[in-house]
Symmetry: C3
Subunit: 352 residues, 3 copies
């Protein structure tokens, strides 16, 4: 089935799949490189996918890309789409008379489809999905429970929206005025291009005017926030809890770790990599790898962190040098610079 | 319509609106100050709103506050409330017999309104909204899809709650005990004052006892967390992914960037500004502008960051000074202080 | 009722409960230690729970653990479960003919229960809860509005899932390929053990293969993300906005503050404490207390932060020392190291 070279005469009965250390008898597992040889020795898997250059005591299939072969094999264990999204339009779905759902494969219980909506062939909606007026959805999409998409937003084909995704919420725009904060109407839309996947609870805000776009093939993890008028390029990977401020532009092939914050009007160049927990307040050139708050080149950030850990010793050294140079007059300014604010933080931070 | 001074004889047909760089023929755009003169030159807009002191080659309207005029103009492009929230109580809405919804303008499909609820004139609920028992909602509110409000919580007038907002979830309070963590009952409520707007997926927890309050005119972005017994003042702006720990007090007119964490029992003074990605473990005086984890005065934080980037060079300098002073005995302590933990982080951080 | 020693002859009428500073006449309050004696003096409470060694001018009950006694007392003010979750299976609930809900106490309006689901005695579901096929729920659970659980996931007994929780979303796993990112099928499940509580909007992803587990008695706050194949131990406390990357292992009794990011494949030892806003890229030993991005021992982090604030002065000192040593040749390298990137950040960070 996996079209690889078979190694080891045995043809074991395979009934499951797992990583090397979780695998049990009957499982197929895989190894990608030398760094997991110990786990390979200890695994209880019954067979393993191996790359060129690695041998196994177990029956094995050799593939140039073992993880891709393993992923293909996993498809055998997926619950069928027809069980997760039963076919047909459930009798409780509220479909507006002007909406066109004739091509949809399944629209589950308690979905609400607004006026003027349309969706393409093969698209499946689980339960409690809400589409505002004039939403268009392409072909072969999957929308899980209680996805909510507001008026006029557009979703391409083969898009997967996980439970609780919100598309088209008003962008966060207010102007200070004499009677408080004045709302800037958010009259643009959200456009999700083909092959995008968006995780549970993630939000993409509608543009103030024009379009907030998530580009073809891009994957968003859970609880990601994409602000109004943002343009996310193609084939990006954006991890959980990352937030992108209004009007920022993310290039193609960008990889963003978890819990990253990107301010408004920031441009991230193609292929850039942003390590988790970073804070982005200014542009990042294409291909850069950055880390920190504010983020800098990742190698410099490691050098700085390493240097920072020498700082208390450095202060002592300078004091000694001043001593030998007879320069002892700086003591008072030091104590001013050291109010020790972190003591209180500790207890609070440990137990928020 | 905008009541400004008309400049340029032409009276172009305006059919849309956009920022200078996104605008096309037929759009009205705007410029607020000299920093966008280049974009003004290049824009394809057909007309522009300009402030005093800036001239335009395009037909223009002069207003003292161009962005406010532009925001007013955008109202022309809003989808009508009656299309987004169709009038009437949908036949599928489950309204408890003791709830009073007689003044509501629209209650959409699959809303569930608990015992003893009430709502004011002009209020509109989209689909799948869930109100627990004894929830009160004021006048002219808009509650989007699947807003969930638990028992006894109170919402003022002209409040906008975006899709997926949760009000009144139990506060996060547990006490260690012999059989594990013991839940502290959360018997207080949430009070949302007039003119508040809360973004998708945001949560405001009910108080342990008493009230968790969000003050008049305050705006919360998406995915914001407000802990139990927090008091947020009036006219604050709180950006996405910010979390406020239990019992903290946020003053009036506070601006908080994205991804800020505020620990328990922290007071933020009126008018304070907290830059994105900051971590707040102690009180902030009124009017302060802070940044960092832990947050300090923003100007000091920039000085420190700038100084930190000189640190590797500083270490070399001190080594040279020690060399000339004959002090070469510190080498071993340095290596102890430099375990280089960040190397591993790099690879993990890039690809979480 | 609280079985403590009664002090002060009066037997005041108690009609409420609150913390010392919020309490009014008629309220019972409590004090745990000497740090709140001033609040005790000023409180308007009518009675107070006190620990051994503290006296009160108010009528008082002495208990060895006042906060636990107060928590017990709060139960008197909880809204009855029958009001929040009315008994019975609502006529609008869509229960698959192969699902077994015979033991459930309440299944609210617009719940959707998939094929093959089962739930134990005493379990209550609010409205709009969605259970995919073959989900099992134990006894005496409470699932609030629009909890969504996908196929095959398992929930123990006495579990509380707050409004908007998502269990069993696909893990975030993709492989780069010639046609873009290739999805790794996520065929594992989520297992939530007994006595777990999970806050609003939080997500636990299904495993790629095998199980993503949240251990017995663990409490998750709102908007927490737990990645695929994560194992969270027993009796942990994990605060809001914390995210845990794929395959990480959290021990027993771990306390994690808010907005913490944990990368993939990180092990956090039993009893570790992670201060809020930390970023975890490598393993943490049992019992450690850590803080920072990347996180280090909390005491070292305070020393470093304190030392860092002396850095500008240190740079000046070294310059003076170089001056007296005649070493003035480093000026150019300094300016190279100081591009001053943070200036722009300030304005953006303040107002994202």
């Amino acid at each position: 089935m996996l079209q690889g070279e078979l190694i080891g005469g045995a043809d074991p009965e395979i009934s499951g799949a797992a990583g090397l250390s979780d695998a049990r008898a009957g499982d197929l597992s895989f190894i990608t490189d030398n760094s997991h040889l110990e786990a390979l020795k200890l695994t209880q898997a019954s067979a393993v996918i191996i790359p060129p250059g690695i041998d196994s005591h177990l029956p094995a299939i050799r593939l140039s890309k073992p993880y891709i072969g393993f992923a293909d094999f996993l498809k055998n264990f997926e619950v069928s789409l027809d069980r997760v999204f039963p076919r047909g339009i459930h009798e409780t779905a509220v479909v507006h008379e002007t909406a066109d759902v004739s091509e949809a494969v399944s629209i589950g219980p308690y979905c609400v489809i607004g006026a003027g909506c349309s969706m393409g062939q093969g698209t499946r909606l689980a339960d409690h999905v809400s589409l505002g007026p004039d939403v268009t959805i392409g072909q072969d999409c999957r929308l899980y429970s209680r996805v909510a998409i507001r008026e006029n937003c557009q979703v391409g084909s083969r898009v997967v929206l996980h439970a609780g995704v919100c598309l088209g919420t008003d962008g966060f725009g207010f102007l200070p005025g004499p009677e408080g904060l004045k709302k800037i109407p958010q009259v643009g839309i959200v456009l999700i291009e083909d092959d995008v996947e968006i995780g549970s609870g993630s939000c993409v805000d509608r543009a103030t005017t024009g379009i907030t776009r998530v580009g073809q093939g891009t994957k968003l993890d859970n609880l990601v926030q994409v602000g109004h008028n943002v343009k996310v390029g193609s084939h990006c990977v954006i991890s959980a809890h990352t937030g992108i401020g209004g009007s920022s532009i993310i290039g193609n092939g960008v990889a963003i770790g978890g819990s990253v914050g990107i301010a408004d009007h920031v441009n991230i160049g193609d292929g850039a990599q942003i390590a988790g927990k970073s804070g982005m307040f200014k542009d990042v050139p294409a291909g850069a790898t950055v880390f920190g708050v504010p983020a800098i080149d990742v190698k410099e950030s490691f050098r700085l962190f390493s240097a920072m850990r020498k700082l208390p010793e450095l202060i002592r050294k300078v004091r000694r040098l001043e001593g030998s140079a007879g320069a002892s007059s700086q003591t008072s300014s030091e104590s001013k610079n050291n109010p020790g604010p972190a003591g209180n933080s500790a207890r609070k931070g440990d137990n928020p």
